[in-house]
């Protein structure tokens, strides 16, 4: 029997390393799969204030992936606590609440409001624009990352995860800043800013012009970032980006991720997370790992030449 449990720090231990990515999961999935089979549940990002989201079209297909400019439509924290949280209290899988805010203080205020039963951890979506810094996302730079995380750390004893943006030149430095400020884990990463144009209408395909790229197309990029972050920090790294199969998840674990989030894949295959969990179990069994934790250390990344033809002889 393979031990799938993972320890994400500050007392939070998941039954398995697979959970949804924020914004790609909601109550509706309970109609299709058993949510208690997941390692954790992660909400769509909520904000303190009411927000409307972006103009349509909000999504577009690209080769092996999608663009979205959903934005963060939110009914506010009150509505979440009153209307949504009770639904999730009906499940045993721990609930991670994703929050966002336009300023450091607002992040702290939002985090403080989540010290209520039924919430297992906070995921701070710091990939959103910081209105005090010219709209640049907090997670684009170590300094603003540190400020936002430190402010939240002061007001909550819940496990606090920082979700990083891939739209930065040095994600390892940002991860180190999050760690230094007291984050219990980093999630690597959010969507990559991208764009497509309809050459017939000569308009951007998205109503918002630009949007975030996700799905299999981004996997080699966010996997690299996961590897870089896992080497840079001691807190757990949660890998996210393009995971659709157990093989994808195993790549992330080998790269150093303690757990993974599955996003876009759930849209095209609602049972994707279940398949990933079953497949990881099978992979561990086949490769002789007693636990998924063992997969973390198994990468052989000595810089060395190896021959693609090896298997042939």
């Amino acid at each position: 029997m393979v031990d799938l449990r993972v320890d994400l720090g500050r007392g939070l231990c998941l039954a398995n390393p697979v959970m949804p990515a924020s914004g790609t999961f909601a109550e509706g999935l309970a109609k299709v799969i058993d949510l208690n089979g997941l390692g954790a549940l992660v909400t769509k990002t909520i904000t303190a204030e009411l927000r409307g989201g972006n103009p349509t079209p909000r999504v577009a297909e690209v080769s092996n992936g999608m663009l979205n400019s959903i934005g963060i439509p939110s009914k506010g924290i009150d509505h979440f606590l009153d209307e949504t949280l009770p639904f999730y209290r009906g499940f045993t899988a721990p609930l991670i609440v994703s929050i966002s805010a336009p300023t450091v203080d607002d992040f702290a205020r939002a985090a403080a409001r989540l010290n209520v039963p039924g919430i297992a951890a906070i995921e701070a979506n710091i990939s959103c624009p910081n209105i005090e810094e010219d709209g640049k996302a907090f997670a684009m730079r170590p300094g603003t990352t540190e400020q936002a995380v430190a402010a939240m750390r002061k007001v909550t004893h819940l496990p606090l995860w920082a979700k990083l943006t891939p739209n930065t030149g040095d994600i390892a430095a940002v991860a180190r800043a999050a760690e230094a400020a007291g984050a219990d884990a980093v999630v690597v990463a959010n969507t990559i800013l991208a764009m497509t144009i309809d050459i017939e209408t000569m308009r951007p395909t998205l109503g918002n012009i630009m949007g975030g790229l996700s799905g299999p197309a981004v996997k080699p990029i966010t996997l690299r970032m996961t590897y870089q972050c896992a080497r840079a920090v001691d807190i757990p790294v949660i890998g996210c980006g393009g995971i659709a199969t157990a093989s994808d998840a195993a790549e992330y674990l080998l790269a150093g991720a303690r757990a993974v989030q599955v996003g876009t894949a759930t849209f095209t295959r609602p049972g994707a997370m279940n398949e990933v969990i079953a497949g990881l179990m099978e992979y561990c069994r086949r490769k002789g790992f007693n636990s998924v934790a063992e997969v973390n250390g198994a990468l052989n990344a000595d810089l060395l030449t190896h021959d693609v033809m090896e298997a042939a002889q």
Binding site: A26, V32, T266
Partner: protein
């Protein structure tokens, strides 16, 4: 709250309790019905065939050569037969996804997620309804005619099309006991003035205590205006681009007007059928 409830209609199923499955469905037939539309029939065991009128499925469309549809494509159930475990979709071959769908041959399988969304409701007081559709909208409205027949409600189907070659589903509506009237662009009968005259006439005859529409913004606006003026219960089935079909991604939102306020709703989750009074132009 849905307008339907206030009229004392059987409330639609609780969105959380209804079951949805991602079914591996086997193709029985997938044939052209005219130059643009195909009808696909699928063997879909389990809950799939429980689809109610106005509900839809999110269908995996195979990649073919240049076309690599990444998302699934939403399609209304054109017919569902729980006893045989069969579902049918009538679809227009338009872009990458439907071109891929069109390549499926009997015996092949594809995944269909559903039944999804909130379907049509019939007021308990309704005796005679009018369905007004155009294009793919008729695929969505056809099962409503059968539902009405089961409930003993008379149906007048007003079918709008470019020309007679594009007129769809007449037999289907007739078989469900509907009175069918066709209006065409080619002979000018489809213009809004004429359609309005027909609707007013039906109402005057007492044949219109429910208005249902799908597939045309202009026709929706017309029905909306008349239903308000004449006090007729009305619903519209809306379309919007979808990714998840399950209320998770918020890409399928449209604006609705409720008590004078603009409210954003997810077409896949809160709809696709909405009170006609709340709809806004698209």
């Amino acid at each position: 709250m849905r307008q339907a409830d206030t009229l004392g209609v059987a409330p639609p199923a609780d969105p959380f309790s209804a079951q949805v499955a991602d079914t591996v469905a086997r193709v029985i037939v997938n044939d052209w019905v005219n130059a643009e539309y195909k009808l696909i029939e699928l063997d879909a065991p389990g809950v799939a065939a429980d689809a109610a009128a106005g509900q839809f499925f999110n269908i995996e469309c195979p990649a073919t050569g240049e076309d690599k549809p990444f998302f699934r494509r939403p399609m209304s159930t054109y017919a569902a037969d729980p006893s045989a475990g069969r579902v049918q979709f009538l679809y227009k071959v338009a872009g990458a996804g439907t071109r891929g769908l069109a390549t499926l041959i009997p015996g092949q399988t594809t995944r269909i997620l559903g039944p999804l969304g909130m379907g049509f409701s019939l007021p308990e007081t309704a005796k005679s309804i009018v369905v007004l559709g155009r294009g793919v909208g008729l695929a969505t409205l056809a099962p409503l005619a059968e539902l009405a027949q089961q409930r003993g409600v008379a149906v007048t189907a007003l079918i709008s099309a470019r020309a007679s070659e594009q007129v769809l589903s007449v037999e289907r509506f007739r078989a469900a006991g509907a009175e069918v009237e066709t209006v065409l662009d080619s002979d000018g009968t489809s213009d809004l003035g004429n359609v309005e005259a027909i609707l007013r006439h039906l109402h005057a005859q007492g044949r219109a205590d429910g208005f249902y529409t799908c597939g045309s913004n202009r026709l929706m606006l017309l029905m909306q205006r008349l239903s308000a003026e004449l006090g007729i219960f009305g619903e519209v089935a809306m379309e919007q681009q979808m990714a998840c079909g399950l209320g998770m991604c918020y890409c399928c939102v449209r604006n609705f007007t409720i008590d004078g306020e603009t409210v954003s709703k997810r077409v896949c989750w809160d709809g696709p059928v909405f009170p006609l009074a709340e709809a806004t132009s698209w």
